[in-house]
Symmetry: C2
């Protein structure tokens, strides 16, 4: 039995994701696939277009065997923590042989070489990093430039295209996955697939493989579902149509505009300083911009600098919205993931769950209310944040209900 | 020189208000009129249809000589505190000879007789009140029944219609005005005008005098301004049209639905208990209902009982929204009003302001930024709540700006 692990947001599950699933199983020679998927709020600091159960349905109906939720304290974080939470969960299942992630480079050897440097942090690299940070560069930019210098000086592989490698978002994530595998000394074998046709940030709908960003943009601005039909598998389309029928729209950060304005304008420097990623000076910058503009995107643009990227700022907004502070997040993250929360499974997935009972190092939660049975205070706090996130996610939707974590069963189908 | 004081919300200034102004000047034989008017949030626990400056414009353009703002800590309170703040402000001006308020009864003698009982609280009355409260009646209901009993037993006037008198909202307010005059031992002479044609809570638009409630209902549900044109003076109509053009709508509690849902669902019993009027048990009732319904009016209906009236519940929501707690309100109220904030004046009003420099016992603020000059910490805290209320009021409007208190001058016209 061979199982491949995938890390995804499926926001929504499109033709590119289907290609990725099929190719991943092929190149890793796997019989089964398990995806660890973000819940209702995502790495880019946004609510998901459709809720986590709908996205799990899309994944299962498109051939993923088992979908597990990535806890919010990892899902809405920078690449480093997002990657660590995802890899650690896949590793803890005890049945994953390989993981396969998309990257712009498609070359596992060079990505792993870079990951090794970032993991080991040789002295020369550390020196370069510090000097770039001192120049006022954002952490990702400083890291990019330090790596470039280091590789040019010391690498035995050809890194003539290094700038390109380490400035591409999926390469960055891939490197973090590889770093995390090293950190936890995992036996999982990493693979990468070169991403095809569409760029990550591409907003135009092109051909049958479009970026999730382009699809979302289309669905939020002008929700004529027919327009994106050619970019997603049929199962996704059906679930999108049903979700749209129920809520008369999709979710987006804009649906929280008035709450965010309210929170920002009633925030103090001391509240903001307690939020993850709010470093010295950013608190006052946010307060100042919030009093000048009435629109969240105008506020973000006002705060945005080289050092404070829009994605980072959006994640700060989500943490403000969810009212989770730095101390709490750091404390919980220090324990690592505490549970395996099942969102969906097909017949194969049910079989995998049975196997996992023998191998998995974390409690498996299929019925939400069961979480209290484990008498684990850290687990409780971590999963209650997921519940709170769902309740606040519902606020952004027409007819959004409370307590969906208690009310919704995982999506189980027999195949 | 004779000056009549009026107490109003002008939400919006309609034909009934104009009639009230003209009749008040006539029966009190006054040359001048001064209105103390609620700011952006009102006694019924709602944001005003249009902001306080627009409502001041309506009042001035319809013949009021001077408009003064009632601080939020009095404006969004039960009749007792609303009345006290208003009467105290009018009294502190030092130039008011009479006040004239509308009432359903129109009989100042019987209203004043009742006010005297409520102010003096004779033993027999107190006993009746306690026994009705113990039965679980709301305070207004218990007071109504205790008064009825007391008057039937002791009064020398004819009080055969007492139930009718003390269950009518404008009589209740009138009694509170009279009680406040007694409390502060004011020399101002009270007058009352019998309200004509329309009932306070009447939602239908009838003839040329309609209730403000009916007019608001019409403007919020179906903002065709032509439909209410016959119920308001021309000046009001013009200002309503301009406001609508600027904001593409009017303000209402519904505009805060998502913020209120967010706040309610993230509230704890201990947060709610700190809000004015949240008595034992109401906190949990609110939390429970908030998790069951997605709509503020459904939540209010769920919480509503004999004891907890909808108006009281809406005021609780406004205090939650403005994040002002009981302790703070009680502390500030214990000092009484601290400033005379001018929102508008005509040539007569400017003359009155000059006269008041010799007579007024409180600092007069025409330019908002000047408030700090008085070096009065209580004044600062009280007026900063008005500023905060304006900023949150703006959130409910399309293109609502921050810091309007600093940016907007009083409406001054020469007549």
């Amino acid at each position: 039995m061979k199982v491949v692990g995938l890390i995804a947001e499926y926001n929504p599950f499109h033709n590119g994701h289907l290609y990725h699933l099929l190719e991943s199983k092929k190149i890793t020679k796997s019989d089964y696939s398990i995806a660890v998927m973000s819940g209702n709020f995502l790495q880019r600091g946004e609510p998901a277009l459709v809720d986590k159960w709908t996205r799990a349905k899309m994944a299962i109906d498109n051939g993923i065997d088992l979908v597990i939720e990535l806890p919010l304290i990892y899902a809405c974080q920078s690449a480093e923590f997002f990657a660590f939470g995802s890899v650690k969960i896949l590793d803890s299942l005890g049945i994953i042989n390989s993981i396969c992630f998309g990257s712009e480079s498609g070359d596992i050897q060079s990505l792993d070489y870079i990951a090794e440097i970032l993991y080991e942090e040789p002295e020369a690299y550390k020196k370069y990093l510090k000097s770039h940070l001192d120049q006022g560069l954002s952490y990702p930019k400083a890291r990019e430039q330090a790596l470039t210098k280091y590789l040019k000086e010391f690498a035995d592989l050809d890194f003539s295209n290094i700038e390109e490698i380490i400035s591409s978002p999926n390469n960055i994530l891939s490197i973090e996955y590889l770093k995390s595998l090293k950190k936890i000394k995992s036996n999982i074998r990493p693979f990468t697939l070169k991403r095809i046709k569409s760029n990550y940030h591409d907003k135009k709908l092109t051909g049958t493989i479009s970026s999730a960003t382009a699809i979302r943009e289309q669905l939020i601005r002008n929700p004529v579902l027919e327009n994106i039909k050619h970019t997603v598998p049929e199962a996704t389309y059906t679930h999108l149509v049903n979700f749209y029928k129920e809520h008369n729209g999709f979710n987006s950060l804009e649906n929280y505009s008035i709450i965010l304005l309210y929170l920002l304008r009633n925030s103090s420097s001391s509240i903001l300083k307690n939020i993850v990623d709010v470093t010295e000076g950013l608190d006052n910058r946010i307060i100042d911009c919030s009093s000048k503009y009435n629109d969240i995107s105008d506020i973000l643009e006002c705060v945005n600098t080289k050092r404070y990227t829009i994605t980072r700022l959006r994640r700060i907004l989500i943490h403000l919205l969810l009212n989770i502070d730095k101390k709490n997040i750091n404390f919980l993250q220090s324990y690592g993931p505490q549970y395996i929360r099942v969102l969906g499974a097909n017949t194969n997935g049910i079989y995998l769950l049975k196997e996992m009972k023998k191998t998995c190092s974390l409690p498996i939660i299929t019925k939400f209310a069961d979480y209290k049975k484990f008498n684990n205070d850290i687990l409780n706090k971590m999963i209650e944040i997921d519940k709170k996130a769902t309740d606040i996610y519902s606020l952004g939707l027409n007819k959004g209900k409370m307590n969906l974590d208690y009310l919704t069963s995982p999506y189980i189908i027999s195949t």
